[in-house]
């Protein structure tokens, strides 16, 4: 059960030719897959393409109608390997994952796939998780395309271009017997726009039909001597075929300059950056809102392979060309320099010298880069009002130009740029220049707000327990993993030393397989565990008799990627086999010391870790900490509760409360929790200035506050309020008695106070 349901949206997948669809990029891609007669789809979830998997999952019915097989692959490697179905058979297959991390995992299968080549179109949709909102290391998928000789599409980020690119992606793949990667940047995946639908196409050959009529061709198998043939094919047959297809179908676009434009200059860009570049030109007064620009553009919707003669043609006769290529290394710029050199074209080539060497190319850095380019090559093109503010720009540009490369590695600092823009803005007469508050003051006023555990997250208590145990035993080396639990590295927990990849938390700690005063803690989530952690982390630890502590966070879903189901999911799921306990799996690979704990039972979790730290038993100490992801649980339980209340059934709601008179405002509780709903408020006592702890109404009554108050011996301020709706007869009877007695005694107390009333 995914975090977000697309059950309603998927109905648009049934829409036919000519209908205008208003959808998210991801949903558009799914529709385009069905329009291209895809026979099988799969992949592994992960932002920014998680929703693609969720959409496919919710579209099972529609997929079945079209005989399209959908597989929730265990990992990106599994997904890539699945494309083997397109090697012998003319089956169109598509898989999706988060890149570059997913592509790293998949690259073994991808390399083999690319070597033998494909008969049916093989499309890999990679969500390029780069720049703002990314959760991974900053790298480029481009390198994988180059190393395995696969083709890389980077279409303009509007739904029409994106959905079209799916269609001709398959064609390109088939025309050149090569797998094709379709790169979508984060915001392109989630861009909400519109495109015109085509009819869905039933695959001409279905997986079933292919399976029933096996074909084989040993020359496609990656084994000598074929491998040498494959390399030859790549260079002599597939590459030329691809380039030919790209040229004849005009996949890359030339944009002529508008009237009065300057065709002595040019810009070569990745298709995915088109919209941002146009906006930058627009702000500089060099293009209108419709993309008509004063400078000719060569838009690479296919960023690999390069179509040399197109590029050389574009550059020939121009004074200077700017290459707009996001990320590093600057593969494209390097290649173009070589092309021009070989073709003896004298056009000056700018790129990373004027644009940031690394980092996302948002509007501001592009605007500044293009401005430098124009300042250096044709300053008269810049409108008067743009010029003065950028004298500095001229200087830099010219120095850069004379050297023709950037003197220093530069990146884009959004803050600095922002201050500059604000400075200009505040120079407006509207603001009184004097008694202005300097904007640098914001640096103190705006604390960071990184992503963190949600309200009531069942993973939080585990780290509360570990932190409390640290007070006793000293600091642990904690090998973290990918998943929500990685938020443990942030305040208030500050737990975690490294993260080496999905399911590799245990593996990353394997060097510390020696005796020491304190054992290490190796974390993994259920997502990572089933992705590969069972073998790479647990299996390896058992085999090597690793003596450390292994924590497996079992919250019933692959929570970080959006709550997709996994093998150990607690509930019955249509089309999938769930309810396979992690405990059995680890025991299956020979783990002896295995404990299963309830995450919210902090005392027990703490005690279990203590035991795991101290036990003389050899081999990995595996602690499976279980509880359901609160986001999913709420979605599951809320409707049930609402219904029960309606039917007049007895319902007990729990939430926490802090006595603001008893709380002394030392916030020790917050330093063990960080729960968004355990916050602070002004001190009700006018004599006190420190804010007191306060539980807001988002509280889900998970119980951590109370458990911490006990296990860490915090303070007597915490109260769990049990709110009984539709109380039973018994409730009413007892309540009556209690009210009488308690009321009487309270009256006595009040009388004492009134004696000295003010």
């Amino acid at each position: 059960m995914a975090e977000r349901s697309f059950k309603k949206e998927v109905q648009i997948l049934r829409k036919g030719a000519g209908e205008e669809l208003h959808v998210e990029g991801i949903l558009g891609v799914t529709k385009a897959l069905l329009q291209s007669g895809v026979a099988y789809v799969g992949g592994y979830q992960g932002s920014p393409i998680s929703h693609l998997m969720d959409v496919l999952n919710d579209a099972q019915e529609i997929l079945e109608e079209l005989d399209v097989h959908f597989e929730s692959n265990a990992s990106e490697a599994t997904a890539a390997a699945m494309l083997a179905a397109s090697v012998n058979y003319p089956l169109r297959g598509a898989v999706a994952w988060k890149s570059t991390v997913g592509t790293n995992v998949a690259s073994d299968a991808l390399a083999n796939l690319a070597s033998g080549g494909v008969k049916g179109g093989a499309l890999i949709v990679v969500g390029e998780d780069y720049g703002e909102g990314s959760s991974i290391m900053q790298e480029r998928s481009h390198a994988f395309a180059m190393k395995s000789q696969m083709w890389l599409l980077d279409p303009r980020p509007n739904l029409t271009s994106i959905t079209d690119s799916v269609e001709w992606g398959f064609q390109l793949s088939e025309a050149s017997s090569t797998p094709v990667m379709l790169e979508l940047r984060i915001r392109a995946c989630h861009v909400h726009g519109s495109f015109t639908a085509k009819d869905n196409v039933r695959p001409p050959l279905t997986v079933k039909e292919a399976m029933e009529n096996p074909e084989r061709d040993t020359s496609r198998i990656v084994l000598p001597p074929s491998v040498f043939l494959h390399e030859k094919e790549k260079i002599e047959d597939r590459l030329p075929a691809a380039i030919d297809f790209i040229k004849t179908n005009k996949l890359n676009e030339f944009f002529e300059p508008r009237n009065g434009g300057n065709d002595k200059l040019g810009i070569i860009l990745q298709g995915g950056l088109y919209n941002t570049l146009i906006r930058a030109l627009n702000i500089l007064g060099l293009a209108d809102a419709f993309g008509n620009s004063d400078i000719p553009l060569y838009c690479m919707n296919v960023t690999y392979p390069y179509v040399d003669d197109e590029i050389i043609e574009f550059c020939r006769g121009k004074d200077a060309v700017l290459v707009v290529e996001e990320g590093q290394p600057d593969y494209i710029e390097q290649a173009i320099n070589k092309m021009l050199r070989n073709a003896d074209v004298a056009t000056r080539l700018h790129g990373k010298g004027m644009l940031p060497v690394y980092g996302e190319y948002q509007g501001q850095p592009l605007k500044e880069g293009v401005e430098k380019f124009i300042q250096a090559e044709a300053p008269q093109m810049l409108k008067a009002e743009v010029l003065p503010a950028n004298d500095a720009g001229v200087a830099n540009a010219s120095t850069n130009d004379s050297a023709n490369v950037s003197p220093v590695v530069q990146s884009f600092d959004p803050k600095a740029a922002a201050q500059d823009v604000i400075a200009k803005a505040t120079a407006q007469p509207s603001a009184k220049a004097d008694n202005l508050i300097p904007l640098t003051d914001l640096d103190e006023l705006v604390p960071p707000r990184p992503a963190g555990f949600c309200v009531g997250c069942p993973e939080r208590p585990i780290f509360s327990a570990i932190k409390q145990l640290q007070f006793e035993k000293g600091e642990f080396h904690v090998s973290a993993d990918i998943g929500c639990h990685l938020f443990s590295i942030l305040p208030p927990f500050n737990l975690g030393n490294t993260t080496m990849g999905y399911g590799l938390g245990g593996a990353a700690g394997s060097a510390f397989n020696v005796d020491g005063v304190r054992r290490t803690i190796n974390v993994m989530g259920d997502g990572g565990f089933w992705h590969n952690g069972l073998t790479s982390s647990i299996g390896s630890a058992v085999f090597n008799e690793n003596d450390n502590v292994f924590l497996i966070v079992d919250n019933n879903y692959s929570a970080a990627t959006g709550g997709q189901d996994v093998l150990s999911s607690k509930f019955y799921v249509d089309h999938r086999s769930t309810q396979n306990p992690i405990k059995k799996a680890v025991q299956g690979v020979g783990a002896k010391w295995v404990r299963v704990v309830d995450t919210y039972d902090v005392e027990t979790v703490k005690a279990t870790f203590k035991e795991a730290m101290e036990t003389p038993i050899k081999g990995p100490k595996i602690i499976i900490a279980q509880n359901e992801c609160m986001l999913n649980k709420q979605r599951r339980v809320k409707p049930q509760v609402r219904a029960a209340m309606k039917d007049g059934k007895r319902v007990v709601r729990e939430r926490f409360f802090v006595d603001d008179e008893t709380c002394t405002g030392d916030h020790a509780c917050i330093r063990l929790s960080g729960c968004p709903s355990l916050t602070v408020k002004e001190n009700p006592n006018p004599l006190k200035s420190d804010p007191v702890a306060y539980v807001d109404n988002d509280c889900l009554g998970c119980g951590l506050c109370g458990a911490n108050a006990h296990s860490a011996v915090l303070c007597p301020s915490f109260v769990r309020a049990e709110v009984i709706s539709n109380p039973s007869k018994m409730d009413n009877f007892l309540h009556g008695i209690r009210q009488k007695v308690i009321g009487f005694l309270q009256a006595k107390l009040q009388a004492k106070i009134d004696k000295h009333a003010f």
């Binding site: 809102a289 006023l445 208030p492 020790a668 420190d690 006990h710 308690i742």
Partner: protein
């Protein structure tokens, strides 16, 4: 230039993950698409967003302009500093973040910001007061924005049983920043079809507030020292009357409000005699203090002494938990209706120390030092207790504990605290004759003694460490120790462990 004439309307939403920014952008998109505009929106979902800061971005483009040009517009994916028409902030610090990133420019940006705070971990985890000055952010917002609409939109949403997105949408409608009328906004909510009634209620309330000519509402300043009520003319009881009279006679005007508040709290804590004792303790200080100094020292001591004398022992905690108004407070806080029953479960974990503290001095000391007794007690209290304070057994236990109040002066805890108070007062007094500022800083140090069990013990440790330096200074020190004490006090409140403090101590 022509480019600037035909342009998309650019809207950025600066919010926290899970705040419903997606709902808001859907509404805006539907609003535009049904009223002659094409709309594009982008966002960054996924784990990168869980409760963290995030930006939703929309661009709207007139279909009329498209027809005229007979071309499709090229819409950007991310906001560009200086190129944002409307900035909507779903939390005050996120408004600050947007300002910091240059998304608010005086020449064109309408800023719609809620003034409510959702405190970051960085602010909440401080031992003292780590909250940033929200009002200053609003001031900067007012200075940077072309137009600012700012008020507590979260409150408006809550009052109307809705979520902040509806209130933000209402404020947006009120700003007239978009070429759509109120009815068209409401239609978008209805089209959405989710919780329409409550959303519309919040929308309209926010719309009204947004229409008020007042540019923005100053958030209610936190209760400050000046905020004490002036003395009442008459009081209810004889014992209260005496105390009021003493405050009038003995306490300088500037301190009267504060001291009277303290007196009330101490009577509530113990009894009138205790309040008299408090006034007796203040007397000598005040006589040496002066109006040239604006009685700053007296005020600080008056405040800290009152807080210290009302130390939170088990008796006090029990008393606080069984009062009628407290049960009412809980009902209000959990939003229970009259048909619902509310049963509080108290999480208590007294340690041996707290148990012995509430015994008569001699017995308590014996129990603490007698290993057998000690182990018996710790066995009894090794685990935390969940006490049902609104059920008989729980209530009676607390009631019994609270009724030990009359014997508080005999308890071991009282003995300790009282000695420390006396010693501290003596230091302040001595210091006052030596250096006023130092005396002031010493007085302040009481704020280090708070919390319970370990937290409380660590607080005392730090306090004593500082007092040790104070004593040597009192004995033989030259000049002023004020800065030193102040920086030690600050260090004691920084960070979780004592690292910062020990570093400062060694400095």
């Amino acid at each position: 230039m022509t480019e600037q004439t035909v342009k998309p309307i650019t809207i950025a939403i600066s919010a926290m993950g899970g705040q419903g920014g997606g709902v808001l952008s859907n509404w805006i998109r539907d609003l535009a698409e049904t009223n002659g505009y094409v709309a594009q929106s982008t966002s960054v979902p996924g784990v990168a967003q869980r409760t963290g800061a995030t930006i939703y971005y929309l661009e709207l483009f007139s279909q009329a302009a498209m027809k005229e040009a007979d071309q499709e517009p090229v819409l950007a994916m991310t906001p560009v500093p200086g190129d944002v028409d409307v900035l909507i902030a779903a939390e005050l610090v996120e408004a600050g973040r947007a300002l910091q990133r240059g998304f608010v420019s005086a020449d064109r940006t309408t800023l719609i910001a809620t003034t409510h705070r959702s405190y970051t971990v960085a602010e909440r985890q401080e031992k003292g007061n780590g909250l940033v000055d929200g009002d200053k952010i609003v001031q900067i917002a007012e200075q940077q924005a072309k137009r600012l609409i700012a008020f507590d939109m979260n409150q408006v949403a809550i009052e109307n049983g809705s979520v902040i997105s509806s209130a933000l949408f209402g404020a947006l409608a009120a700003s007239d920043a978009l070429p759509f009328n109120k009815a068209q906004f409401e239609a978008a909510i209805e089209a959405g079809g989710v919780a329409v009634a409550s959303s519309l209620a919040a929308f309209n309330a926010a719309y009204q507030k947004g229409r008020e000519d007042k540019a923005w509402e100053q958030k209610q300043q936190s209760v400050s020292k000046e905020a004490f009520a002036s003395l009442p003319a008459e009081v209810a009881s004889e014992s209260a009357r005496e105390l009021l009279q003493r405050v009038k006679d003995e306490i300088p005007e500037v301190c009267q409000g504060l001291v009277f508040e303290a007196v009330k709290q101490l009577v509530d804590y113990q009894d009138p005699e205790y309040a008299h004792e408090y006034l007796d303790r203040l007397k000598p200080l005040i006589s040496e203090d002066s109006s040239e100094q604006e009685y700053l020292l007296s005020q600080e001591v008056a405040r800290q002494l009152a807080l210290w004398m009302a130390f939170q022992d088990t008796i006090r905690v029990a008393e606080q938990k069984i009062r009628a108004d407290r049960f009412e407070k809980i009902r209000r806080e959990v939003k229970a209706n009259d048909a619902q029953m509310v049963y509080p479960v108290e999480f208590l974990h007294p340690r041996v120390e707290e148990i012995c503290d509430s015994m008569p001095k001699a017995l308590g000391q014996w129990a603490l030092n007698n290993s057998f007794a000690r182990s018996c007690i710790s066995a009894l209290f090794s685990h935390g207790r969940k006490l049902q304070s609104a059920k008989l057994s729980g209530f009676l236990q607390l009631y019994f504990l609270a009724s030990m109040k009359s014997g508080r002066r005999k308890t071991l805890r009282y003995f300790h605290e009282n000695n420390n108070i006396e010693a501290w007062l003596e230091r302040v007094q001595k210091a006052a004759s030596k250096d006023y500022q130092t005396a002031f800083e010493i007085a302040k140090c009481q704020n280090l003694i708070k919390g319970y069990s370990d937290t409380h013990a660590r607080g005392y440790e730090n306090f004593n460490a500082i007092m040790a330096e104070v004593d040597t200074w009192l004995a033989s020190g030259q000049g002023s120790l004020a800065d030193r004490v102040a920086s030690l006090n600050k260090a004691a409140l920084t960070g979780e462990d004592r690292k910062a403090f020990e570093a400062e101590l060694a400095a």
